[in-house]
């Protein structure tokens, strides 16, 4: 019987709360902890993938947490005045708005380094490799984004897709799943990452500030290309349904107990915040 997504989320929450950050960081851990809020979609995906493949959740938690730390690192730096200049995040002040820019730069750096530290707790270097490669792709995506270069698909693949791919990929690496059996899992990760992004773009125009935890319409204000600005709301909704169907189909190809992952995909499809 797979663990429901909300229980997986609670596990991640507890693990992050109890996580020993490097003591040499001193009071820098305050802005770091402030940065670590969120819906935990990526770590839940990592845990659910591992569970579907028969791993213990315990063994997957460092990898899942590492992915969340990389995600948080990227938000802390992206919110900086010189980049997206976002004062709000998850219903409160962003790290730089609360703690200052210097804290945000260093807290982001430390979150990234702590993520790598966690990924090195495995017997195989594969988990760390997945993490570092997706991090580099994500940075490349953010670079394209702030310069306004690149097609929406390329931007998405790098900026959001890479870390979704790593969320599944780290579980595959931790379990030493052979390359030849990884294809449907990787396809699922790509589809569910795209689904997440399209839904995110839709919510940015349809939902209230309060529900989003940040001012809605921020994509438009930043002049960002989104699936909604490119294709309109109706077509974006069709594309989301499409990605959801493809993700579900990919799961049918994967060997393992995938009910739980299906529920994660459903949650991502139907979420409203």
């Amino acid at each position: 019987m797979p663990t429901p997504p909300d229980e997986l989320q609670a596990l991640v929450e507890r693990y992050l709360d109890d996580l020993d950050l490097t003591s040499a960081l001193g009071t820098l851990t305050e802005p770091m902890r402030h940065a670590l809020g969120g819906k935990r979609v990526r770590p839940v995906l990592c845990l659910a993938t591992g569970e579907a493949l028969g791993a213990s959740l315990e063994s997957l938690l460092p990898a899942a947490a590492a992915i969340e730390l990389v995600h948080s690192f990227s938000l802390v730096h992206d919110d900086l005045p010189a980049l997206d200049d976002d004062r709000e995040r998850r219903g409160g002040p962003s790290v730089w708005a609360l703690h200052g820019e210097a804290s945000a730069v260093l807290a982001g750096d430390a979150l990234l380094a702590e993520a790598f530290r966690l990924s090195l707790s495995y017997g195989t270097a594969g988990v760390a490799r997945e993490l570092v490669e997706s991090t580099l792709a994500m940075i490349g995506g953010q670079w394209l984004d702030i310069r306004g270069d690149g097609a929406r698909e390329e931007l998405h693949r790098l900026k959001t897709g890479a870390l979704f791919s790593a969320s599944v990929g780290c579980a595959l690496a931790a379990l030493d799943v052979p390359r030849s059996e990884q294809l449907p899992w990787r396809a699922f990760a790509a589809d569910v990452g795209l689904l997440f992004q399209i839904v995110d773009d839709i919510l940015d125009v349809t939902e209230s500030d309060e529900r989003l935890g940040k001012p809605h319409g921020s994509d438009e204000r930043h002049g960002k290309l989104t699936y909604v600005s490119l294709f309109g709301l109706e077509r974006a909704r069709e594309l989301a349904a499409d990605s959801h169907a493809k993700a579900t189909a990919a799961l049918a190809e994967a060997s393992g107990e995938t009910d739980d992952l299906r529920r994660v995909a459903d949650y991502i499809f139907t979420r409203n915040e």
Copy 2:
């Protein structure tokens, strides 16, 4: 016959010039490459340690380069207006002064991630662990520094000492040197790191802007505690001579062909830029 330090430096130079950066980073590699100037003290230390232990220089180059990338990452972020606000570095504009703050934030992030990627090319995770732990200590040191907290010794140990320690430690890890044989090497690393810092503090007050490649007296302007401001120039020079003698003594305890490391320590002691 050990390789002279200037040949080691040339090897590092060539390796960094030829280094394939992740293609997804696109044009972000320009500010990254701009950040990669410098004297290569840390990678030369890594190569010389490896050579003293009988390793091929080839096999040590990824670790040596990774250390230099971490060092460069830290300078790029430390120079930012919100941190040390330094417009000049190594006789030219710092990364943010030339390419803008957003570029400097992301180029720093990418340098750190590329460093981790390089450190994962070894069969053992030990190299990556050395690197990540020293990175975390260094970030903790920079945090203390910008807040003006902490004693000079603690600050040095974290901000400079940790990466010097890793320069030696990565070579030990790459060669799987048993813990029991590491002690004199680690002592040497600590002494030579301290030596480097004291000499750096001295040069900041005694040398011209041109020779330093940045405005001299910047420590004083930033209100930073240095070995000179704390103990005076005369006493700082004595402390440097002390560290040099201790580093040399530590080498005598280490098993291996250490002539070359002695020359690196001499260079650090007598450098004037």
